[in-house]
């Protein structure tokens, strides 16, 4: 679960500083630290372990508030499902404003759900809210393009299981229900997401055969 991190850690040293593996988001204002070399030697000052271990913090983009990710090719195909045709589904969700409410509530539920919040803890929820909105909006044919990563690479190494996926689906159902999406439309939307299971969660079969990843 800890493998995806927003830090680049100098190789090898990370092992000695396990706490540095935890993601740390630094607001743009905090990046104005002293440049290396011009600090006075002060024995009482707390040790800057990040600098000692060569940790480079990625800072949030001052405009979007997002933490940059490694480069990838953008394409609607990354959304992992073909959009619905017609306007019915977009209408069932209340158009783009409705989809945004569903997504925001969905992310809120996931990040507070004791079953799965740990998986989201160290990740960029600002980016997730944007990319999820784009993905849902595209699939629901509500007039968006998806600029996020594909499902396989964005979930690689998260270690999420079928149980986690079911918890996430329950949260999505709750978010849709609270925002007035009818049950048949909820299921129709889920029919686009259900086939992504192998990309967004790990298969238990591996474990059955005794191979733990």
């Amino acid at each position: 679960m800890m493998r995806k991190t927003v830090l680049s850690v100098a190789l090898g040293i990370a092992i000695m500083a396990p706490s540095a593996v935890m993601a740390q988001e630094v607001p743009p204002a905090a990046e104005s630290g002293e440049a290396p070399g011009d600090a006075q030697v002060d024995r009482d000052a707390p040790v800057d372990w990040d600098r000692e271990f060569g940790v480079v913090r990625k800072t949030r983009d001052p405009v979007t508030g997002e933490i940059p990710v490694d480069p990838y090719v953008q394409s609607d195909a990354n959304a992992g499902a073909s959009p619905f045709t017609g306007e019915g589904m977009a209408r069932a969700f209340g158009g783009q404003p409705g989809i945004r409410r569903v997504v925001d509530r969905f992310v809120e539920l996931n990040t507070t759900d004791p079953r799965i919040k740990a998986i989201f803890g160290e990740h960029d929820m600002v980016r997730l809210r944007r990319t999820l909105f784009e993905q849902f909006c595209l699939i629901l044919n509500a007039g968006c393009h998806y600029t996020g990563r594909d499902m396989k690479s964005s979930h690689k190494g998260l270690g999420s299981t079928r149980a986690d996926l079911n918890a996430l689906v329950e949260n999505l159902q709750q978010a849709m229900r609270e925002n007035g999406v009818g049950f048949a439309a909820q299921n129709r939307f889920l029919s686009k997401l259900a086939p992504m299971d192998a990309d967004v969660s790990e298969r238990g079969e591996k474990r059955l055969l005794g191979k733990r990843r």
Binding site: F183, S191, A194, L208
Partner: protein
């Protein structure tokens, strides 16, 4: 991370005590691994209800579902009680199931079939009960009920070994044996785009009236191929309605046997309980025709 682990353990501890309630006996894993043993994490209703033979599925059909609420890395358990009231008979069955890694299902069910007045008419005595034990295993070979490609249903094979406890009597009515084994092959899928669940099952069986009247007969003594189908509609996360049809052999010369059908409502008021109500039509049983009535089932699952 420490807090995360603690939460996991505590949740698991609750599961343990709940599982204990089902009195399944020996723990299946050491407490150290408890946080993985019972995850109680299937989506509502996707563990199905319990069929008359004790396998998970619909009321009459055995589906490709695995009993209990455990997912691929966990174990699930379930227990059920079913009562069916027919014009001339009463049915009561109960049993327990274990689902291992959402892959292998092992179940036991006991059927008690009350002949009431018919018992006297047949010379067995008023309220004579036919009893049967059924030991079943089901293995999901491929696919998934909900996830994966839409075109790939969950596919499972099953065996149901039935031991009728009234051997002398079932042989007297013409059955060749008091024991028999059914073999099933099933495919089940919840088509989310339509909120519809479809199941189709092929069954090789010798059973007369599910085995309550023994196995094989003067008309036909070997296994025959029978089919069962289910069509259900999901109204909400907690509520589904549907219908089932099941063909049955007609092996005994003394009494015609008909196909069976049901129309059901399954409701999960809380995640660990499914209440099923159904209208059942099993046709003629031991020369008494028109056996149409009601079914009620309570199923607890973890």
């Amino acid at each position: 991370m420490a807090t995360i682990l603690t939460t996991g353990r505590r949740r698991a501890a609750t599961r343990w005590s709940l599982a204990g309630l089902l009195a399944l006996g020996t723990p299946l894993a050491s407490p150290a691994q408890a946080d993985e043993t019972f995850d109680d994490a299937k989506l509502l209703l996707t563990n199905g209800v319990t069929s008359v033979e004790g396998a998970s599925g619909g009321g009459l059909a055995s589906w490709s579902t695995i009993a209990g609420r455990g997912t691929e890395r966990a174990i699930g358990v379930s227990a059920h009680v079913t009562a069916i009231a027919l014009p001339d008979y009463g049915w009561q069955s109960h049993g327990v199931s274990v689902g291992i890694h959402d892959r292998l299902e092992l179940s036991y069910a006991r059927q008690n079939f009350d002949t009431r007045k018919v018992g006297a008419a047949l010379g067995l005595g008023h309220g004579f009960k036919f009893n049967q034990d059924i030991f079943s295993a089901k293995l999901r070979l491929a696919g998934d009920l909900v996830y994966g490609p839409q075109w790939l249903p969950a596919i499972a094979v099953g065996v149901q070994h039935k031991r009728n406890l009234d051997g002398a009597i079932v042989r007297a009515v013409g059955a060749r044996s008091a024991q028999g084994t059914d073999f099933t092959l099933s495919a089940s899928k919840l088509f989310l785009s339509r909120s519809v669940l479809v199941n189709a099952t092929a069954r090789l069986t010798k059973a007369n009236q599910f085995g309550l009247l023994g196995f094989g007969g003067d008309k036909h003594g070997k296994h025959s191929l029978q089919v069962e189908g289910t069509l259900a509609y999901q109204l909400s996360r907690r509520l589904a309605v549907g219908g089932e049809y099941r063909t049955k052999p007609d092996n005994l010369g003394i009494a015609r046997e008909d196909d069976a059908l049901d129309m059901f409502v399954a409701w999960a008021p809380v995640r660990n309980l499914t209440v099923t109500g159904a209208y059942v039509d099993v046709g003629s049983i031991a020369t008494f025709g028109g056996q149409r009535g009601g079914l009620v089932q309570l199923q607890l699952a973890f």
